[in-house]
């Protein structure tokens, strides 16, 4: 049965509506259960001794003083844990040439970044463990640190891992058409150098894990703040030599993840290894300071790029040379080559053009490892593309909206394959742009800008179109050999009281997955959403799935839930048909009642059906199937990814005396296909925009040339805060994917993808009359003044 989502008056019409989040009250009342809330009998705490040097040989570790601290039970070195935990290598077969050395849970012989764990102190309290950790004496022999990306491959730069031959982790060149020829004959060629700063995703709840090993059951249980419980089950099983079936990963409430919590962290694996050795529960909660040096970083790219345009604004060619430094290891198991690879895949994304060349060069450094963080690679690719397009528009004297209109794929052009070989099933660039211009009243805003100028105020408008990769298939990780599930499952069951339980393989990180699942299941079965209890995040309980990443929860997990819910509805109606001696096809379920499909007349409450099935099954016909538990799985097959699209606009004011940029307003129109819950989607977009604005104006991790992290605290690493955030107007165009009945694509990352470029273009719109331009993020007051030539020393 196909749901007519476009009919808001249909029965059980929860898909497409804002329904309350089932977990909101619990979280607001402080009754959530995060890993740190869990206390187990005989539980101990671990704190890590971390390298103060970016690169050093470990000559010796003296734990005598530490073990003397009251409460300290044991100190582990890298060698101790290497005996019980095998190292891993963060490579994937489809990323050709990607190399990385084996990485251990605790550094063995050598520390490769400031913050790498070199020893672990276990104690009866975190305070005692920290006390002990401060007393562990590590004898370091400093080695030269590699900190600069662009010179990492130079002959005179030391090689971090001599066994690998050089500091090159990965390089990919993609070429389509004839870029040189197109550039040579173009009306205008514009080039620019872009820089995106090193970020980290500051999660409200830090990384957290509590692991228990029960030798009597040979079972390892990890309570883990993670996005991907099943992936972690595989990883812990493999490296601790436990059968996968004997590892249970439980993920309760998670206080934000943004991609930070989808990776394998050495200190978390070390915690599991220690639990196995000690045979008692071990808890590790990262503190904010160690999070800065150990949570993955991202976005540290330097790019040289060119665009060639014809007189009429048609894009003839785009040429991108992208470099990124990823730290000393490629992060396991998703690898640190994906971000650069995404830049190659995504540049030029909205535009129909022929000649494209992009190269990414991924090098090792002695800094915190980088890996996937919300909107992986997109903010970089969008900044490059949209920055170039605006510069080209300025060079030929064309309005930034007009040049985009002339180049964006027509809304009826799909399916198409981009010059980067990305396949688009259906996008809506023009409809989205139309909606954006209406929402922002583009002409009125231009008038306001001119008016402000008369009062000496420099205002700017920036536009950024984008595409966003969501609903990934196994082409993302699985084909490279990683045990990362692209399919997902959902089990839906009806209990005797007529309520419904849904168990899903996608996870709740605070983004509202459980609300989305509850309304999909409610509509699919025919009950109200509050009758649906959702269970996620337990590998021993839920169907196998991938969890939260690449904006897949609604598109993949939601479709599995819809199919399972419909299957349950079918089973219920089959029983109801027998009970009512009616044709199951003439019945329907609405608001928890079996009704006549044509008249809507109530026939049987679900609790009565439940009572009969579970307690008086003797009264039903022998042989009648009464399977009130149904499971369905979903995987995308037609496209490697479901691309979404959208366009953002930013209106800003630059104080040209101080360099301070004020965000006046922000707009985003995006197309994530079917919108299941408008409020959740809007808030995802807004939250994503905030993170993008952070990248544009505030966030930047600084290292000195010795590899010391200089601003690793909330006082010095500036995240975007409420007072500076502009009003955001969000609009939608809906182009459902045809791969699923639900039609949903992802919405979690689009905000982050486009916001930095929109702000950059707005600032440059304001500065252009002064002959200044900024391309290095974040756009600090100082960078603005340097671009203006106000300060030169």
């Amino acid at each position: 049965m196909t749901i007519r989502f476009d009919n808001p008056d249909r029965p059980n019409s929860y898909i497409g509506k804002t329904v309350p989040r089932p977990n909101a009250r619990k979280l607001v009342e402080g009754r959530g259960r995060y890993v740190d809330d869990i206390v187990l009998p005989r539980m101990v705490h671990v704190a890590f001794v971390r390298s103060p040097l970016a690169h050093a040989r470990i000559e010796g570790i003296d734990a005598a003083a530490a073990t003397g601290v009251k409460g300290v039970l044991r100190v582990f070195t890298g060698a101790d844990l290497a005996a019980v935990c095998t190292p891993w290598v963060g490579v994937l077969a489809h990323l050709k040439g990607l190399k990385s050395p084996p990485q251990n849970a605790l550094a063995v012989d050598r520390a490769c970044w400031v913050g790498e764990a070199v020893a672990a102190v276990v104690a009866t309290s975190r305070a005692a463990a920290e006390e002990g950790a401060a007393l562990v004496e590590v004898d370091y022999d400093p080695l030269p640190a590699v900190t600069d990306t662009m010179s990492a491959l130079d002959a005179d730069t030391p090689v971090i891992h001599p066994g690998l031959g050089d500091n090159l982790a990965f390089r990919r060149l993609h070429e389509e058409g004839d870029v040189e020829a197109a550039m040579a004959s173009a009306h205008k060629v514009v080039s620019a150098r872009f820089r995106t700063a090193r970020h980290t995703g500051v999660t409200p709840e830090p990384r957290s894990i509590l692991v228990d090993w029960n030798p009597a059951e040979s079972q390892l249980t990890a309570w883990h703040a993670t996005q991907a419980p099943h992936m972690m089950q595989s990883v812990l099983a493999e490296h601790l030599d436990i059968p996968e079936s004997r590892v249970r990963v439980i993920c309760g409430d998670v206080g934000g993840s943004y991609g930070i919590k989808v990776h394998v962290y050495p200190d978390e694996v070390a915690t599991a290894a220690i639990a196995k050795v000690m045979g008692r529960p071990v808890k590790f909660i990262a503190d904010r300071l160690e999070s800065f040096t150990t949570d993955i970083h991202a976005r540290d790219h330097e790019i040289e790029a060119k665009i060639a345009v014809a007189k009429d604004g048609k894009i003839l060619a785009i040429d991108v040379d992208d470099w990124t430094g990823i730290g000393p290891y490629s992060v396991y198991p998703r690898t640190s080559a994906i971000e650069g690879n995404q830049v190659v895949n995504l540049c030029g994304g909205p535009y129909d053009f022929a000649n494209y060349r992009a190269r990414t060069t991924v090098v090792f450094q002695n800094k915190t490892p980088t890996c996937q963080y919300r909107a992986v690679g997109h903010p970089i690719a969008v900044a490059i593309t949209e920055g170039l397009v605006d510069m080209a528009a300025a060079a030929i004297g064309m309005d930034p909206v007009e040049i985009r209109r002339r180049n964006m794929y027509a809304d009826d052009a799909y399916p198409v394959t981009s010059p980067a070989k990305m396949r688009f099933e259906g996008l809506s660039h023009h409809a989205s742009m139309d909606k954006l211009l209406t929402l922002m009243d583009y002409d009125a805003l231009r008038a306001d800008q001119a008016e402000a100028m008369k009062r000496g105020k420099r205002r700017g408008i920036g536009i950024a179109s984008f595409i966003e990769l969501t609903n990934p298939s196994p082409f993302m990780y699985g084909i490279g050999g990683a045990r990362i599930s692209a399919q997902d499952g959902c089990t839906v069951r009806m209990d005797p009281d007529g309520s419904v339980v849904a168990l899903s393989g996608v996870t709740e990180q605070g983004q509202g997955t459980e609300a989305m699942l509850s309304q999909v299941v409610a509509e699919g079965v025919g009950v109200t959403p509050e009758k649906v209890r959702v269970i996620t995040g337990d590998t021993q309980v839920t169907p196998y799935g991938g969890g939260t990443w690449a904006s897949r929860g609604a598109g993949i997990g939601g479709e599995a839930a819809l199919q399972a819910a419909r299957a349950l509805r079918h089973s219920i109606l089959e029983v109801a048909g027998a009970m009512l001696q009616a044709d199951a096809g003439s019945l329907d379920i609405r608001d928890g009642q079996v009704v006549n499909a044509d008249t809507g007349a109530a026939r049987l409450p679900l609790e009565e059906l439940g009572r009969i099935v579970y307690f008086r099954g003797d009264t039903l016909p022998k042989g009648l199937p009464r399977e009130l538990v149904q499971t369905r799985h979903f995987i995308t097959m037609d496209y490697p990814f479901a691309f979404t699209n959208g366009v953002q606009a930013s209106y800003i004011e630059v104080d040209t005396d101080t360099g301070v940029v004020t965000l006046l307003k922000h707009w985003c129109v995006e197309d994530c296909g079917r919108v299941i819950n408008p409020q959740l989607v809007d808030e995802q977009i807004r939250g994503g925009i905030v993170q993008g604005l952070g990248g544009a104006l505030y966030e930047e991790i600084h290292y000195d040339t010795d590899g010391q992290l200089l601003n690793g605290s909330m006082a010095d690493y500036l995240v975007p805060m409420a007072a500076e955030m502009p009003d955001m107007v969000i609009g939608h165009v809906e182009t459902p994917t045809l791969e699923s009945d639900l039609g949903a694509k992802g919405a979690g990352e689009a905000g982050t993808a486009g916001a930095p470029a929109a702000v950059m273009n707005a600032i440059n719109d304001a500065l252009r009359p002064l002959g200044a331009q900024v391309t290095e993020m974040p756009f600090t007051p100082e960078r603005i003044l340097r671009a203006l030539g106000t300060i030169t020393d």
């Binding site: 305070a127 920290e130 101080t658 301070v660 500036l718 805060m721 100082e782 003044l785 106000t790």
Partner: protein, 277 residues
């Protein structure tokens, strides 16, 4: 990280607090609003402290009019400074400063005495005290003494206060009838410490300019003040920039801070209604 305090005691009055401080010796540390101290302890930048909690000493709290000046008790919270009518009337620079200090929760706890004793080079109140020509009141085992604000701030987190002394109050001369008091600052985000900030006081006796977050302690810009007294704004900006030797850090370079000090001075002068005396 977990803080590791050496001990904690609550003082009933100033003599009791001094006694507790003396007992604790070098480890003794006054706990006021805790908005700087507790953060430092939680990062283990400070450990083993013997905390002497003075927050229950009622005598250290509140604003009184003493004729020529206002007496502001050390425990007066930032939020109270921000709304106090006497301060608004007689020392509006402090009222304005509060809007730049941190966020509401911090302003509800942080104390003016704590801010002065802590002497963060980027803090607003120390610079206000210097610009206003305020007097710091201290009490120690040898009795009470008064220190002129411009002699009080010695460097980054260091003041003329001895280890066994308590800062009890600050007294601020009342503004004269035509006096203007202005604060200007640039910060990356609302509530952040300033990249650089400036206080301008224009009173009958002449201009006073104090710059913060541009050196180890608030800078009383005497040459700039003289130029302003002479009505030379360009000269004042040049003199100010020559008087500063600001630090570079991850937020801004010395060059940026020096430039901004000049911009802020111009803005302050413009707001104060003209070219000076």
């Amino acid at each position: 990280m977990k803080a590791s305090a050496g001990g904690y005691a609550r003082a009933n009055d100033v003599p009791h607090a001094l006694q507790l401080l003396a007992l604790a010796g070098a480890a003794g540390r006054i706990l006021a609003g805790g908005q700087s101290l507790v953060a430092a302890m939680n990062m283990r930048l400070s450990d083993g402290d013997m905390l002497v909690d003075i927050t229950r000493i009622g005598a250290l709290r509140g604003v009184t009019d003493t004729g020529d000046s206002l007496h502001i008790g050390a425990l007066t919270r930032h939020a109270e400074v921000g709304t106090d009518p006497l301060i608004r009337t007689h020392a509006p620079l402090l009222t304005e400063a509060v809007h730049h200090i941190a966020h509401a929760a911090i302003r509800n706890r942080g104390t003016i005495g704590g801010a002065l004793a802590h002497a963060d080079p980027a803090a607003e109140f120390p610079a206000c005290a210097v610009a206003l020509g305020a007097v710091i009141h201290a009490e120690g085992p040898e009795g009470a003494r008064q220190i002129l604000a411009e002699d009080f701030f010695e460097g980054v987190f260091t003041t003329a206060l001895a280890e066994n002394e308590i800062l009890t109050a600050i007294s601020v001369p009342k503004a004269d009838a035509a006096e203007t008091q202005i604060m200007e600052e640039v910060a990356r985000r609302g509530g952040d410490y300033a990249l650089t900030g400036l206080c301008l006081v224009r009173r009958a006796a002449g201009h006073r300019v104090a710059v913060f977050s541009a050196g180890p302690a608030p800078v009383l810009a005497r040459a700039a003040m003289a130029a302003l007294d002479a009505g030379d704004i360009d000269g004042a900006v040049a003199a100010l920039q020559a008087e500063l030797d600001p630090p570079s850090d991850t937020q801004a370079s010395a060059g940026y801070r020096r430039h901004i000090a000049g911009v802020l001075l111009r803005r302050a002068v413009e707001r104060s209604g003209g070219q000076g005396a």
